[in-house]
Structures are given as C-alpha cells and as structure tokens.
C-alpha cells in the first residue's frame, strides 16, 4: 500500500542549523488505516517531531510528503486540510463554547475574511457526534475535564477533514475509562482509512492500537517495526532504564502487555 504521509531524513534544532541536537535522520511512513505509535523517554523530542510533521514548527531539514506532495511547498492551509494536529496543551484564556472550538477546525477550508457557514457547523457537529461529545456542544471549554478537552480537540482536528491525524500523548492525565475511550476513537478513525501518528508513554496502548511502533531516543528513532518486535524486554530496558517483563496475557485478552518490576 502506498504511504499517506512519508517522513524522510527529518532533522531539527531550535537554532535552525546543524548540529541537529533535538533529533536527526528520522524516517517513517504511515499508510491509510495505519497507527504509528511513538514511544520514548521524556524530553527526547517526540512532541517536537510531531509539531514538525504537523507544520506547527518550521525550520526542519529533510522531507515530509503528504500524499506524495512536499509540505514545505504547500500553503499552510493546504497542509492543515491534510494533517490534523491534536496538541497536548489544553487551556484557553476565554470560555469559548465547545462547538465554537470544534468549528475552528474548518479554518483551512475558509477564506481569510470568512466565518463558518451552516455547512461548516454541520461538519463540526458530525465530528462531535463521531467522538461522542455532542452533549458538550454548549459547554464553555473552561468547565471541561481533561478527557472532555481531549475529545473536543480530536473533534476539532476531525473537522479539518484530514487524511492524517497527529496526536501528542492523547491519553496522558486521563483516568482509565477516558484513556480507553480515546483509544477507541483512534482505532475507529484508523478504521475509516485515516493515517494516525501518536505519541504515548504507555507501551500497552501501542499493543492495543498500533500497527507500527518506534522508540525515540538519543536524537532519533532507535527502534522501529511491528509492536511485538519493538516492545521487547531488552528494548524497554534500553529506552527507559528499568526492568520490564513483556508477557502474553491469555484469559480472553490475548494480547501482550508490559509489567515493570521495581
């Protein structure tokens, strides 16, 4: 299958020049329906990588191709029609209503002087329905819980009608129920043919949703491949510096999971 998004030899430093001290020579690709999970210790540049791929950060070197087109030659709005980005930060200085936030995802489709039409509001409504937050539509965002915020931001990215969605640790700070709810949404979006790139701190989540996993460490992707081949006891020790047992869980689960030991 041809790749939806292709990242080739991507390097980045905040100074914009070599040495590329944040990460260098990162390559991977995601096919339609693929879920690419990025693991790795804190501070290894996972968020920075995701921001580069979403065109939030500029000044990277290498190539990012969306559907074969080089995104550095595309207008920001055209990139945003193809790539939706769900940030980790959830705050707003103003109590925007959830539906007003979700409809912001229509921005790349709108002319500079335009504001959302009835059709845009319908698309936003459908996005809220897809992620199951229609009941929150009229809530000010300042009253949302962490899980509700995350779902609202996913709905906003969905309103962009992108081919690829990028999520930066979408399950962090959420309770178990909300974590699973988010993973369910991720999986169902992939089921519609969307390509997903997400960072996570929970290897078990990669076992649940990922089609491919990479470990980001020491300025690059140190391991990359199918979840079973990447999330191994030795790779986990290497990445996180702790002892982890990776065991197959039977009894109706039939999936591998990580069990750290103290």
């Amino acid at each position: 299958m041809t790749a939806l998004i292709e990242i080739h030899n991507l390097s980045f430093s905040y100074t914009g020049a070599a040495p590329h001290d944040v990460f260098s020579q990162v390559s991977f690709s995601v096919a339609p329906g693929g879920v690419f999970c990025l693991l790795g210790p804190n501070g290894t540049g996972k968020s920075t990588l995701l921001k580069c791929v979403s065109n939030v950060l500029q000044g990277w070197h290498g190539a990012i191709r969306l559907d074969g087109r080089d995104i550095s030659r595309m207008k920001p709005a055209d990139v945003a029609m193809g790539i939706g980005y769900v940030p980790q930060n959830q705050n707003s200085a103003f109590p925007f209503l959830v539906r007003d936030i979700v409809v912001m995802g229509r921005a790349p489709h709108l002319a500079v002087f335009a504001s959302p039409s009835t059709r845009d509001r319908e698309i936003a409504r459908a996005a809220m329905e897809t992620v199951g937050i229609l009941s929150l539509a009229d809530r000010p965002c300042t009253t949302l819980s962490g899980g509700e915020w995350q779902l609202a931001l996913i709905a906003r990215a969905l309103s962009q009608e992108p081919q690829v969605m990028i999520l930066d640790e979408p399950t962090s700070h959420l309770d178990l129920g909300n974590q699973v709810r988010i993973l369910r949404v991720v999986k169902s979006l992939a089921g519609t043919g969307m390509g997903i790139i997400m960072a996570t701190h929970v290897p078990d989540h990669a076992f649940i949703v990922a089609t491919e996993v990479a470990i980001m460490n020491r300025g690059g992707l140190s391991r990359k491949g199918a979840p079973e081949t990447v999330i191994t006891e030795s790779n986990m020790r290497d990445a996180y510096g702790i002892d982890v047992k990776v065991l197959h869980v039977a009894g109706g689960v039939e999936r591998k999971a990580c069990f750290p030991s103290l």
């Binding site: 065109n55 920001p76 939706g84 930060n89 912001m104």
Partner: protein, 344 residues
C-alpha cells in the same frame, strides 16, 4: 442554563442584540446633539440634519445649525470613532495576547503619544503640531516595541508584551521629565490636561483626516474577526489549523496601532475603555469574536459618546473625559460582573 442556542452571554440572540445596541447608539447620539449650552429640541435636531438632504423650510435660528454641524457633530463623530476604535482594538489585542487584562495601550502607543504631545506643547503649542507629534510618536513607540521583541526571538507574543512594558516605561519617564521641567503655570497644566483626554478639540477638519484611518482599522478588524478566535487558542494551535500566524498578528497590530494612535492624536489618552468594553461585550454575547467585535464597536461608541456628553454638560467647565470613563465605567462593570457569571 445550557438550553438551546447560545448559552453564554445574557441570552439574547446576537443579531437582535446588535439591533438593540444600534438603536441605543442612535438615541444616545441624538441626546448628545441636543444637549449643551444651547439646548436644541430633538425634533429640531432631526429637522436640521434632514435639511441637508431634504427640502425642509428653515424655521430655526442659523446659530443652531452652526452649533450642530461645526461643534457637536464632529465631536459626536469623534466620540463614536474613538470609542468604537479603542474598544475593538482592545478586544482584538485581548484575543491576540490571550489575556483579558490587555488594553490597546499594551504596546506603548499611548506612552509614545503622550511624549509626542508633551514635546509639541513645549515647543510648538499648536493643536496641529500636538496631533501630528502624538500620532507619530505613538507609532514610533509601537515600532520600537516590535523591534525589541524581535531581538529576543523567543515566544514572540510574550516578548511583545514585555517589550511594550519596557518601551512604555521609557517614554513615560521622558514625559514625566518634560512635565517636571515645564513651566508650571502654562505648559504643565496643558500637558496634564492632554494626558487626561478630551474630545474638545475635534473639528470637522480633524475628522476628515483621522476618521478614515480609524474607520479602515475597524473595518479590517471586523473582516478578520473570526480568525482572531484561532489566535486566541494559542499560536501553535492556530498554525496547526493552517493560519499564517505571523501575518495575522501583524495585521492585528497594525490595525490596532493605527486606530489607537489616530484616536489619541485627537482625544488625548482615554484609558479604561479599551480594557473594559471588551469585557462588557463578553458578558453580553460571550467570547466568540464573530459576535464580540461588532457588539464591542456599538457598546464602545455609545459609551464614549454618553460619557463625553456628561463631561461637557455636567458642570460649568469641562471634566477631563479620561477621569469620567473610569468613574462611570468602574461601577457599571462591577455591577455587570456581579449580575452575570462569566465563565472565567
């Protein structure tokens, strides 16, 4: 509370609210034209205005006509444009800087204009010089702020605010120095009065120059108003949504700066309006800039015209409007805050 429709604000549909606010502005404007040393009855006000376009027999004294067209109308127009302009600049800046405590003066425009006016009062003392100097110095201060923010290169929006504080402090200190060395009988009171603001000097000629500048800024901000929502969510979010954030930020700063520099040049420094009218607007329609900006234009215009009418009619001599905007506005704002619970 969260029933159908817009559940924040006071619960009146934005379209209906704007019609009501426009009517309110019309009533306030008519009252402003009536009141003064010469009282003109409302019917006569409308007759005199209509006589310029309709064939109406002149039954009123000619002085009334000149009072209306040469004194009250330009002053009304100045009140409308300055009130609307400062309010919409404040609302746009609060969105841009993601901070509801920001006013249009945050980038140093009023501090710069103050110094320009003080210099002009000391060395030229003509009204034209004061207006030109305050406008140019206001723009210069904002340019310095933007230049300084570029030097630091990191998190641009925060650096803009900090640079604005630095530049503002520098210009204010220079103004204080000029006040200190100015002749305490003539020049110093002029500087102090100018800094307190007044629409007294607004003439038809001024409005012909300044009016289009303010109006253009207002129209452009209104055109891009929905996009200000995107910036208000944060620069990174806006960029992920395909917004050219640098260009949008530049457009907002240029518009707001031209509006406030032009306003300050004819009215002196009128504080409080640009900070508080946006809050009153949010209490009325919520934070969505699509509705907030037009509402703020109407409320700001009504408010400044009303306060200016009080300033020139309440007592024998004129009260500086900068004092009144806060004295009248603070209790209103306190009351509104208590009445409706904003979501922040």
């Amino acid at each position: 509370m969260h029933a159908a429709g817009r559940s924040i604000g006071i619960g009146i549909a934005p379209g209906k609210l704007m019609v009501l606010l426009a009517l309110l502005l019309g009533v306030i404007a008519t009252v402003a034209l009536m009141l003064g040393q010469l009282q003109i009855p409302p019917a006569t006000v409308i007759e005199i205005l209509a006589s310029r376009v309709l064939p109406i027999e002149r039954t009123w004294e000619p002085t009334l006509e000149s009072v209306l067209f040469d004194v009250r109308l330009p002053r009304l127009l100045a009140g409308v444009l300055v009130g609307a302009g400062l309010s919409i600049s404040g609302a746009a800046f609060q969105g841009l800087f993601r901070n509801p405590l920001v006013s249009p003066h945050i980038l140093g425009v009023s501090a710069g204009a103050g110094l320009g006016a003080a210099l002009a009062i000391l060395f030229f003392s003509s009204i034209l010089a004061i207006q030109a100097f305050s406008f140019i110095f206001g723009l210069a201060a904002v340019l310095m702020t933007c230049g300084l923010a570029r030097v630091y290169r990191t998190t641009p929006v925060l650096m803009l605010v900090l640079s604005g504080i630095i530049v503002g402090a520098l210009f204010s200190a220079c103004t204080s120095l000029l006040k200190y060395i100015a002749d305490p009988l003539n020049n110093m009171p002029s500087i102090v009065f100018w800094l307190l603001g007044s629409l007294n000097n607004a003439s038809n000629k001024d409005m012909a120059v300044v009016g289009p500048v303010i109006l253009t800024g207002i129209v452009i901000l209104l055109l891009i108003r929905w996009r200000i929502n995107l910036l208000a969510m944060g620069e990174e979010d806006a960029r992920a949504l395909g917004v050219d954030t640098r260009r949008l930020t530049a457009i907002i700063i240029v518009c707001a700066t031209l509006i406030s520099a032009a306003s300050v040049s004819i009215s002196g420094i009128i504080g409080w309006i640009g900070l508080v009218i946006p809050h009153i607007g949010r209490l009325l329609v919520g934070p969505d800039n699509k509705y907030l900006l037009p509402v703020v234009v109407l409320v700001g215009a009504s408010y400044l015209v009303a306060v200016d009418t009080i300033a020139r009619t309440a007592i024998e001599s004129e009260i500086p409007i900068g004092i009144l905007t806060a004295m009248v506005g603070a209790p209103i704002f306190a009351y509104l805050l208590k009445k409706s619970r904003p979501g922040w």
